[in-house]
Amino acid sequence: MAILPLRIRDLRYAPNGREVLAGIDLELGDEGITLVLGPNGAGKSVLLRTICGLVEPSSGVLAWGRDGGSRPQQGVMMVFQHPMMLRASVLQNVVLGLKPLGVAAGERRRRGLAMLERVGLADRAGDSARQLSGGEQQRLALARAWLTRPRLLLLDEPTASLDPSASAAVERIIREIRTDGTRILMVTHNLGQATRLGDDIVFMAGGRVCEHTPVRAFFARPRSDEARLFIQGELPWRMRL
């Protein structure tokens, strides 16, 4: 069953009465890279966690696929800002996501080595994953997610703590994943990265989507005051609407 497009209607999340998501309406099509921008506390990461099922929304609808089905059991993956690295080799870490899919051990190894080749980590296959640099760990996390062939990949600030060179390597892999047919929704604070990677921008503030527009239009003519102030670097922290 096709899980895209994803239609999100009036999604709300308010733990202990504090509204983190205040009625999100959003539609994600079949392909492309959508960047989620917004100030700290805008609800960007919570939106991603809600989409992949880690956070149970207070109300609202996530309608998957053309028939608007419920959350799929497979096909959605998420890569975190600080990815988990098991105390095991790079190869054992990259194939981790294949275990629940029932892929046999020999096949896991074959696919894992091929994937490490694609992300430039083949020569580190036998090393401890925890001994990789931050950039290499993030590439490994992307490879781990990519190996499961997700239809939708959620990325939560994957380059937040990386230097420009490591960020560029991660961006290259993200483009390859997209070319491979995976839909990507990615949170970032890096406006330059947004222009390099994104097809469209979802701008959030105060738990709401202020605008959802193509990248060029967003930077040339932001429709909302919040987005204009954000681009100018003047949006107050945790702005309330």
């Binding site: 990815p83 098991l86 095991a88």
Partner: protein
Amino acid sequence: MSAFAATFSDALALLTTFDHNVAAIVALSLQVSGAAVVLGTLIGLPLGACIAVGRFPGKSTLSVLINGMMGLPSVVVGVVVYLFLSRSGPFGGLGMLYSPAAMVAAQTLLVVPLMAAITRQVVDDVWQRYAEELQVMRFSWWDSVTTLLHDCRHSLLVAVLAGLGRAMSEVGAVMIVGGNIDGATRVMTTAIALETSKGDLALAIALGVVLILIILALNALAFGLRHWAMRRFG
């Protein structure tokens, strides 16, 4: 003072001449405690990990109970196992009382809560960091348990060592269910207690030295292994 020195001299002689009696007692101690720790590892580690990962009603109560049972008096465990294995008890027909098997059962009951409690704590700390990613990857509850146990394997050496220390050093339970029968169920701790009461301090000291050396050697091994693992796997 000369009697004191003579006792140590005799103890040293027993050790350096590889006294048959001492060797037999040490061998049985290692067999009984080793078997109890193997069983305790097979039961306690998964139990602790299941409690850490599981979400079920009464989880907090069970955690408190397991923690509380870490300090279970060994004589109480001895009495309980005795009641179960005595002729009129539910397992009396097995004829296990006053046998090494009964001692293994008693020591296993002593080490399981200790190993489970330590494992629960170690795994819980890691689970807090890994939970979201394993959930995203659709790991089942059991796959999460086995993955975490494997990931914490070096830290869990502490749990195994703690269990071994508890098993090897306890005297009450094995005295009650084993009976301290010479050549059959006499282990280091019960022999030390007996020989001390009889005034044969040389044998008691010799066994005490062996007991301490074994525990020190195992701890050194675990320390070295953990140190290597931290360098190898981070």
